[in-house]
């Protein structure tokens, strides 16, 4: 059994919070640069140029890409042969978020009570944390700061099995169309299919952690991702909704087996600042 002090997790998380908010991954920056070649609208091109410049400025000035430095969302895989010492995983992650968001001059966007006084917690905690137990003796931490504007444009729908591929495509495309300019296009569209009401939503979130443009390993779903992406971009909404070719950079689908009576579907949208980072300890 490997022993791992949770203080290592806190330090790792603190560093990840700062890094993810200042440096956009190569996957997304490459996708943005490629989209400039596809875009036909002059205003759309101007938007994409600003977004590419923005990444350079953030890097050079060491300031966040976007002022919405997000809800801190984590998917953590814990090896069954690891024994965490010195505290709980949840406390360690939240301590890391507090440190990263404070030391990194990141915006604190979390309020404690969602309905009544909505008072800011002051340190961007608590994080949203999902854990999986896996074989081995490593801890893999995947982090995404998730912006509120794009998160607000998300949905779950319990489709009927009879709705089939066409029903699924209609749900996703119509939903994204209604969201229009609000989630800061060009967007990345996370789609969950199958499982229960809760599972499908988590899978649509997990889909946003995949490197942008990496297709689903199942050919059928990779084909569906491409089909939905083309339909979304044919809407003409374009960068920032000003009209153009590039409304979405990618569609990522994650699936789970389904009950015989159900076909759950979820859409979780990310903005072009599709920030995600992974570290293994």
């Amino acid at each position: 059994m490997r022993e791992l002090s949770v203080s290592v997790i806190t330090d790792t998380v603190a560093g990840m919070c700062e890094e993810a908010n200042i440096y956009l991954g190569d996957d997304v920056s490459t996708a943005l640069k490629q989209s400039l070649e596809v875009e036909e609208s002059p205003t759309g091109k101007e938007v994409l140029k600003q977004l590419i410049d923005n990444l350079e400025i953030a890097k050079n000035e060491q300031i966040p890409i976007c002022q919405d430095t997000g809800f801190a969302v984590f998917f953590v895989e814990i090896g069954q042969d690891v024994h965490l010492t010195g505290g709980t995983l949840e406390e360690a992650i939240n301590a890391g978020v507090k440190k990263g968001y404070t030391d990194g001059y990141l915006r604190k966007s979390i309020v404690k009570d969602p309905l009544y006084d909505r008072k800011n917690t002051g340190d961007n905690t608590p994080a949203v944390i999902y854990t999986d137990l896996v074989p081995g003796d490593k801890v893999k931490i995947a982090f995404a700061p998730k912006g509120g504007g794009s998160e607000n444009m998300s949905a779950v729908k319990m489709l009927k099995p009879a709705d089939g591929e066409e029903g699924l495509i209609d749900f996703v495309v119509n939903h994204v169309k209604a969201a229009g300019p609000n989630p800061c296009p060009p967007i990345v569209v996370g789609v969950g299919i199958g499982g229960t009401f809760d599972k499908v939503a988590v899978n649509s979130k997990k889909a946003l952690f995949r490197p942008v443009g990496q297709p689903n390993p199942d050919q059928k779903y990779a084909g569906l991702e491409k089909k939905i992406l083309d339909k979304i971009n044919d809407l003409g909404v374009g960068p920032q909704g000003f009209g153009g070719r590039v409304f979405a950079l990618a569609v990522h689908i994650e699936t789970y087996p389904s009950h015989i009576a159900s076909m759950a579907a979820a859409v979780n949208i990310n903005c072009h600042a599709c920030r995600h980072l992974e570290k293994t300890i």
């Binding site: 953030a58 966040p64 002022q67 915006r107 003409g236 909704g241």
Partner: protein, 183 residues
């Protein structure tokens, strides 16, 4: 691409010269306000009390910046979703506001109020907070410091880039733009 320059505060003539789809560069003083500050401002208007800022001719920018690091004017400072301010915007326009800068769709009531009171809705590029922060030359909190990032800040901007979405004539770039490129 044709780019117009506008200098805040604005008058009716300035507003009427702008059309949906125009790209503009904004110079001068703009004030920030998000949901919480709007709620307070509109409550003051409703009760007839004086406002902490002059609304006449003003441009309001919907932004909640990240904290400035030592030596910086402001942190990352891109626009937030405007739709959350829809409930307050007609009243702000009625009391003299001439333009607002945000991102995303507006309600029919806002689009109509822009025509009635001669106002204009501009969008800055959402998620370009680092780039936009460089266009902000001065920043000070002028009201509601207890709101933190949501306090009202007085900003001095130079060549701050934005695009006209809804003009004073009822035009809407979001619907026209998508129509032009749909296939």
């Amino acid at each position: 691409m044709n780019i117009k320059t506008i200098n805040a505060p604005l008058n009716d003539q300035d507003v009427l010269s702008l059309k949906a789809g125009d790209n503009v560069l904004v110079n001068g003083v703009v004030y920030t306000a998000r949901d919480a500050a709007h709620k307070k401002l509109v409550a003051l208007i409703d009760s007839g009390a004086p406002l902490p800022i002059e609304l006449k001719g003003q441009i309001i920018y919907y932004v909640g910046p990240t904290p400035a690091k030592p030596g910086q004017v402001i942190g990352s400072a891109g626009p937030t979703t405007s739709g959350r301010m829809d409930a307050y915007t007609p009243k702000m326009l009625e009391h003299g506001m001439k333009a607002c800068i945000g991102k995303g769709l507006r309600s029919q009531a806002v689009i109509e109020a822009l025509q009635k009171y001669k106002g204009v809705y501009l969008a800055a590029v959402g998620g370009a907070g680092a780039l936009l922060s460089k266009k902000i030359k001065k920043c000070e909190v002028v009201a509601y410091p207890e709101l933190g990032a949501e306090a009202i800040h007085r900003l001095e901007v130079e060549e701050f880039p934005a695009t006209v979405i809804n003009d004073a004539y009822g035009n809407d770039l979001y619907s026209e733009g998508a129509r032009s490129y749909a296939r």
